[in-house]
Amino acid sequence: MKYIIKLFIFIVLIAISFYSFILSVDPYDKYGFKYWGLKTKAVNSYRDNKFHQINNTQIKYDLFILGSSRVQAFDPELIEVDTGLKTFNYGVNNSKPEDLLAITRHIIAKQTPKIIFLQLDFYNLNTHIPVDARLKVSPLREYLDSNVKESIESSKYYYYEKNYTTLSSLKDSIKLVFKNKLGTVEITHKQNGMLIGNEAKKKPNFVEGYFTNEYKTYEFDEKRISSFRKLKTLCNKNNIKLIVSISPMNEKHFFTLISNENLYAKLFSFKKIVVEIFKEVYDFNNLGAVEYKYPYWNDSVHPSVELPKTMIKIIFNKINVTNDFGIKITNKNIDNYLKRLNTSCQILLSEKI
C-alpha cells in the first residue's frame, strides 16, 4: 500500500512539474507569459509563425499570397522583381476555406494590402475533410467564424490541447528553451513568409494520401462555399483586388484524379462553383500543367520554386497562356473551356488506358 501511495504521489508531482514548465514557456503564446524571455514561440506551426510575423512586422505589404502548402514555393522576392509589389507569402499547410477566411480577416485587421492572391485547391470544398486540428492551438482561431470555432472547441481533445496538457506542448517547450538558450533558432521561413527548401525532384512522389483523405467521398460543403463568398465580400469592402487561381497537379496526379468518375465530375463542378463565386479565376489545373515535368515539381501536387515563376508571369501578363495553362476563366468562357477540357481529358484517358 505504501508503494502505491508513493507511486500516485510521483504521478501527481511529475505531472505538475511538466505542466508548470510548459506554462512558464507558454510555447504557443496563449497567455503571454515571458518567464524565459524567449525570442521565438510556436516552433512547429507555420500558421502561428506567420501570424506572429504579420503581428510584429513594420513592413507594409502590397500583396499577400494565400493558399495551402502548395503556394509555399511562391517566392515573394521574385514576385517583387516581376511586379514591383512588396509581397508576403501567408501560405499555410492544409488550408481550407475557413482558414483562408480567418487569415484574410487577420491581414485586414493589421494592414490593407492592394492585392490578395488566393490559390484554391480542388479539395477545398469537400465536406468530409475536417477543420485542421492545428487551429485548435493557433491564435488564428480568434478570426474563425463562430460555428467553426465552436466545432473545434467541442472536439474530444480540445480541452487537453487548449490547456497545454499534451506531449507536443512539452516537446515544443523543451525545443524552444533549448534553441533559444543553447542552440540557434531554426529558420524555416524567410521574413516574407517563403518556405525555405522546395527542391525539384527528378522522380516526384505521388501523394496518394490525397485520394484516401482530401478527395475521399467528395461532396460540396455549403459552409465552405459560403466562407469563400465572405472572403470575396471582405476584399471588395476593403478595396482589395482579389486574384484567384486553381492550383496545378502533375501528370500522374491529374490522370489518377480524372480516372475516377466521381472526382472527374466533381472537378468540373468545382471550377464552375469557384468561377460563380469569384467571377474571374486563373486555372492552372488542366492538361497544360502536365507538360511541366522536371524541374517543376517537388511531389505530385507541390510545385518546386520553378513552376510558380511561370504562373506569376502568366497572371501578371508577362507571358502568354499556352495549352490553357493559367487560362482566365469567367462566366462567359467557362462553358467553352470546360467542353474543351473535357475533350482533352477523354483523349488522355483513352490514350492511357
Partner: protein, 485 residues
C-alpha cells in the same frame, strides 16, 4: 474502449476495480463475477454496440456445445466427434463470413471476370481472438481436459476485458481455476504494484514508441511513390518496431490489468527480435497464437510424428493458416508461406547438424523477419515490391547534403546528395532507430523487469514517469494494430 484512452484509465478501470473488490469483500462472489462480465461487455460495446449480439450468441452457442461435449452420459443422438466438428465448423463459418467473404468474392471476380458486389462487412472487434479461444475450449472439452457447467464462469472466461480484444489467447483450464481461488477475491497490493508497473511500460511502448514509428511506416508504405535505399530500410524497420511495440505494449497492459484482479495471463512476447533462428522467433513472438497453432493445427495434422516430408507439409500448412488468420489478403498468405518455408529450411538445416555463429544467426533471422513484415504491412503487392525493391537496390542511394563536398566523386556512380529521409520528413527516424535497436536487442523485456520488480522509490518513480509521459501524449485516437486481425 482503448487501454490508451482517458475514459478507460480514469473512469472505467477504477470503477470496475473498486466495485469488483467491494462485492467480493461483502462475499457477493457471484455478483462480483457478474459485474466483471457486465463491465467487460460494456468495454467491448464501447467500440460498437451492434456487434454485442454476435459475441453473446457465439458465447451461448459454444457454451451449449461445450456442455454437450462434457456430458458423459451415453444417450446422445450424435457422436462427440460430430458435435465437436459441428462446433468448430460453426465457429469458423462465423469468422469466415465476417473476415473472408469479401476476399473470396474479390478472387472469384478476378478469376471469372465477374462483378459480384462485395458485402463490405465491418470486422467485429476481437472476432479472431474470441473464436480461436472458444475453439480451443471445445477441443479441450472433447479431450476431457476441461469442463464448465456455469454460464457465468464461461462468459467470464471469454469476455474478461484485459484479454478480450487482442489476447493473449488463453485456455479455459488456465483461467478458471484462478478465478475460483479465494485469494483472487482479495486485493493483493504486490500484484497491484506489479500490474501498474507493467501497465505503465505497456502504455509508454504503445503511445510513445509504436505511434511514433507508425507515422514513418505509413509515410514509406502508403504515401511515397519511390524510396531511396535508406528510406526503404527506415520504412521497413519502422514497421518492424511499430508492430513489436504496439502488440507487446498491448500485451504488457493486458497482463498488468489482469494482475490488478489477481489473474496471471500467459506471456505472449519474450524479446522476439533477440531470436537466433526462426523456430526461436516463433517461441518468442505471439506465444499464445503459436501455442494454439501447434496444439490445434500442427499436431492434429500429424506434427512431426510422420515422415519428414509430411512434417514439412504440416509446417507449411500451419503457417499459411496462421497468415490468413491475420488478415484476408494474399500478402498475409504469402507472409505465412514465407515463415513456413523458413521453418522448413531451418528444420532441414538443423538435421544436417551445421551451426552458425550466434551473431550471424541473429542477423539472418532478424533480416528475414524484417523483410517478411513488408508483405504483412503492405496493403497491395505493389507497395511491398516498392519497399523491397528499394531495400535491395543500389540504384537509388542518397547521402546527406553535408557529405557532398567530401564525397562529390560518388555522383559519377549515381549517388545523390540531398535530405536522406525526405519521405519521412525528418532524419529523426534514423535517430529513433539507432536508439531503439539496442533496447530491442539487449534490454530486458517487461516480463523480466517485472520479475526483478521491487516496491521501492526507484520503481515507483520510473513507473510514474512512463505513465505521465504517455498520458500527456494520449490526445489522439490510436488503435492497436492487432485490433485489425
Amino acid at each position: 474502449m482503448l487501454f490508451n484512452s482517458y475514459e478507460f484509465i480514469f473512469v472505467f478501470l477504477p470503477i470496475t476495480f473498486f466495485i469488483y473488490f467491494y462485492l467480493n469483500s461483502k462475499r457477493y462472489t457471484e455478483a462480483s463475477k457478474g459485474f466483471l462480465v457486465f463491465s467487460s461487455l460494456f468495454f467491448y460495446s464501447w467500440w460498437n454496440i451492434v456487434y454485442l449480439p454476435i459475441i453473446l450468441s457465439s458465447m451461448l452457442f459454444n457454451y451449449i456445445v461445450g456442455n454437450s461435449l462434457n456430458n458423459n452420459e451415453d444417450h446422445h443422438r450424435f457422436s462427440k466427434k460430430s458435435i465437436l466438428t459441428f462446433g468448430i465448423v460453426s465457429n469458423l463459418a462465423l469468422l469466415g463470413y465476417f473476415k473472408y467473404t469479401d476476399f473470396f468474392i474479390e478472387n472469384i471476380n478476378l478469376l471469372s471476370d465477374g462483378n459480384i458486389p462485395t458485402l463490405d462487412l465491418a470486422l467485429p472487434l476481437a472476432i479472431s481472438f474470441f473464436t480461436f479461444q472458444q475453439i480451443s475450449y471445445l477441443v479441450d472439452s472433447y479431450r476431457q481436459e476441461t469442463k464448465e457447467y456455469d454460464f457465468l464462469n464461461y462468459a467470464l472466461f471469454v469476455t474478461f476485458f484485459p484479454q478480450l480484444i487482442a489476447g493473449p489467447i488463453v485456455h479455459h483450464k488456465e483461467m478458471m481455476p484462478q478465478f475460483a481461488k479465494t485469494r483472487t477475491k482479495v486485493k493483493n497490493y504486490r500484484n497491484i504494484a506489479i500490474g501498474l508497473f507493467m501497465f505503465s511500460i505497456g502504455l509508454f511502448k504503445k503511445v510513445i514508441i509504436a505511434d511514433t514509428f507508425s507515422v514513418w511506416a505509413t509515410a514509406g508504405f502508403d504515401t511515397a511513390t519511390t524510396l531511396n535505399l535508406f528510406e526503404a530500410w527506415a520504412t521497413s524497420l519502422s514497421y518492424t518496431f511499430q508492430l513489436y511495440f504496439d502488440f507487446s505494449g498491448y500485451t504488457d497492459m493486458a497482463i498488468g490489468l489482469a494482475l490488478l484482479f489477481n489473474i496471471r495471463l500467459p506471456i505472449n512476447f519474450n524479446s522476439p527480435y533477440k531470436a537466433t533462428d526462426i523456430q526461436d522467433f516463433w517461441r518468442r513472438w505471439h506465444i499464445t497464437l503459436s501455442r494454439f497453432l501447434k496444439d490445434y493445427v500442427y499436431i492434429p495434422l500429424g506434427g512431426n510424428k510422420k515422415r519428414e516430408f509430411r512434417t514439412y507439409n504440416n509446417l507449411l500448412a500451419t503457417f499459411i493458416i496462421g497468415g490468413i488468420w491475420h488478415g484476408a489478403g494474399w500478402t498475409f498468405v504469402f507472409w505465412g508461406f514465407l515463415h513456413g518455408i523458413a521453418l522448413v529450411i531451418h528444420r532441414a538445416w538443423s538435421k544436417l547438424g551445421f551451426k552458425l555463429w550466434t551473431w550471424l544467426a541473429w542477423l539472418i533471422t532478424f533480416n528475414f523477419v524484417n523483410t517478411a513484415w513488408v508483405f504483412f504491412r503492405a496493403k497491395e503487392w505493389d507497395d511491398a515490391v516498392k519497399v523491397l525493391g528499394s531495400m535491395f537496390s543500389l540504384d537509388n542511394i542518397v547521402l546527406h547534403k553535408k557529405l557532398a563536398n567530401v564525397l562529390s566523386s560518388l555522383t559519377n556512380y549515381g549517388i545523390e546528395f540531398r535530405p536522406m529521409f525526405d519521405v519521412h520528413g525528418t532524419s529523426l527516424v534514423a535517430v529513433w532507430l539507432i536508439c531503439i535497436f539496442p533496447i530491442v536487442i539487449f534490454a530486458k523485456n517487461t516480463v523480466q523487469l517485472s520479475i526483478k520488480f521491487k516496491q521501492n522509490t526507484f520503481y515507483a518513480f520510473i513507473a510514474a514517469l512512463l505513465f505521465v509521459v504517455a498520458l500527456f501524449d494520449m490526445n489522439k485516437i490510436s488503435e492497436f494494430l492487432y485490433f485489425n486481425f
